[in-house]
C-alpha cells in the first residue's frame, strides 16, 4: 500500500507540476520534505522514548492489565478475533486524553498485537483499529483551543461540544462501515 500511495502522489504532483510550471518547487519540496522527516523523528525520538519508558513501568506494575480488563467488554464487541486488549485500551485512553505522542507508540504496539501471526493481508480487526484511529475520540482538543485563543477568540472552548458530538457520531459510523465492509468482503 505504501508504495502505491507514494507512487500515485508523486505522479499527481509531477503531472500538475508540468501543467502549472512548478517543477522547480516540487524538486525543492522533495528534499525539504525528507529533511523535515528526519527533524520530526528527532523530536519524536525523545517524546516517544519517554512515553514508552513510563508505559513499560505501568505494564510491569500491572496498571495496564487493570485498564485493559475494564475496557475488555466493550472492545470485545468491536474486535471479534482479538484476545489481547492491553495496548488497544491504552491507545484509546491516550487518544481520549489528547496525548497524541503517547498514542502513536501504543498504536504501533497494538497493531502488532492484533496481527500477531504476521499475516500479509490485513485482518478485519486491524482495519477496524486503524480506521478508528483516523477518527480518535478526544476529550480535550488542546492544540486547537490554544490556536483559537492565540488568535483572540471570544470563547475558544465553544467548539468542544460539537467536536464531542461529531467524534462520537463519526466513531459509530466508522464501526458500522468497517463491519459492513467486512461482511461484504467475506
Amino acid at each position: 500500500m505504501v508504495g502505491k500511495i507514494f507512487g500515485t502522489m508523486v505522479i499527481f504532483s509531477l503531472v500538475s507540476a508540468l501543467f502549472f510550471g512548478t517543477t522547480a518547487d516540487i524538486a525543492n519540496a522533495a528534499f525539504s520534505g525528507a529533511k523535515d522527516a528526519v527533524n520530526l523523528s528527532l523530536t519524536l525520538l525523545g517524546v516517544i522514548s519517554l512515553w514508552s519508558g513510563i508505559l513499560n513501568v505501568f505494564d510491569k506494575a500491572g496498571v495496564t492489565a487493570l485498564i485493559s480488563k475494564a475496557a475488555k467488554p466493550v472492545l470485545k464487541i468491536i474486535y471479534k478475533n482479538t484476545e489481547n486488549f492491553d495496548n488497544i485500551s491504552l491507545n484509546f485512553s491516550a487518544n481520549l486524553l489528547g496525548l497524541g505522542n503517547a498514542a502513536l507508540p501504543l498504536g504501533i504496539k497494538a497493531a502488532k498485537d492484533i496481527n500477531f501471526n504476521r499475516l500479509q493481508t490485513a485482518s478485519d480487526d486491524l482495519i477496524m483499529f486503524s480506521v478508528l484511529n483516523t477518527t480518535p475520540l478526544q476529550l480535550f482538543p488542546t492544540t486547537l483551543i490554544a490556536l483559537r485563543s492565540s488568535y483572540g477568540s471570544n470563547n475558544p472552548f465553544d467548539i468542544v461540544l460539537p467536536i464531542w458530538i461529531c467524534s462520537v457520531a463519526t466513531t459509530v459510523f466508522a464501526i458500522i462501515i468497517c463491519k459492513a465492509f467486512a461482511k461484504v468482503s467475506k
Binding site: 519508558g53 500479509q120 490556536l147
Partner: protein, 172 residues
C-alpha cells in the same frame, strides 16, 4: 478545562514516579521501555520520509489548490464555506499542512467566524488518514490493506458533512 487537559501528563508521570519509588525495582523496565521507544522511532523513519516527501511534493505542485477549486461546486451545494475546502482536501494527507491552513484561516477570517468554527470542528474530530494507516500497517507488516483506505475516506466524508451540519445548528 484547560487546567484538566494540561494536568493529564503531570498526573500520569507522578503516578509512574510513585510506582518507581514505592513499588519493586522497576528501573530496568523503565530503561528498557525507553530503549524500545527509540527502536520504534527508528523503525517508523523510512515511512515518515516517504510520506512527508510525497505530501510536500503534492502541496508544492499546485495539485491541492486545483483540487479545491474543482470541488467547490460540490461543496458549495453542501453549504461548506469556500474558505475551508482546501483544509478538507489537506485533512487526509498532512496534519502539519492542515494546521498551517487553519492558522492562515484564523488570521484572515478570525477563529469565531462561521468558517473558523466549522474548520475547528472538522479538525477536532478527524485525524490524518495516510499517516495513521502507513504507521500501523507498516508496523504490523501488512502488505494488502483491503478496504482500509476506502473505509477511512468514507468516514472522513461523513465527518466533514456532519461537522458542517452541526456548525449550521450551533453557530448560524
Amino acid at each position: 478545562m484547560d487546567f484538566i487537559a494540561s494536568s493529564a501528563l503531570p498526573v500520569i508521570m507522578s503516578f509512574a514516579a510513585v510506582i518507581l519509588i514505592f513499588g519493586k525495582d522497576y528501573t530496568d523496565a523503565f530503561l528498557s521501555g525507553i530503549k524500545s521507544g527509540m527502536t520504534t522511532t527508528v523503525n517508523i523513519l523510512p515511512t515518515l520520509i516517504i510520506l512527508i516527501c510525497a505530501t510536500r511534493m503534492l502541496s508544492a505542485s499546485g495539485f491541492l489548490t486545483w483540487l479545491s477549486g474543482f470541488l467547490t461546486p460540490v461543496t458549495s451545494f453542501l453549504r461548506v464555506p469556500s474558505e475551508i475546502v482546501s483544509i478538507i482536501v489537506m485533512r487526509p494527507i498532512s496534519g502539519s499542512g492542515c494546521t498551517a491552513l487553519i492558522d492562515n484561516l484564523f488570521s484572515t477570517s478570525g477563529p469565531d467566524s462561521f468558517a473558523g468554527k466549522c474548520a475547528s470542528v472538522i479538525m477536532g474530530s478527524s485525524d490524518t488518514i495516510f499517516f495513521t494507516l502507513f504507521m500501523y500497517f507498516g508496523a504490523a507488516g501488512v502488505k494488502k490493506t483491503r478496504y482500509a483506505v476506502a473505509a477511512s475516506f468514507l468516514t472522513l466524508i461523513f465527518c466533514v458533512a456532519f461537522s458542517v451540519f452541526l456548525a449550521n445548528i450551533f453557530y448560524r
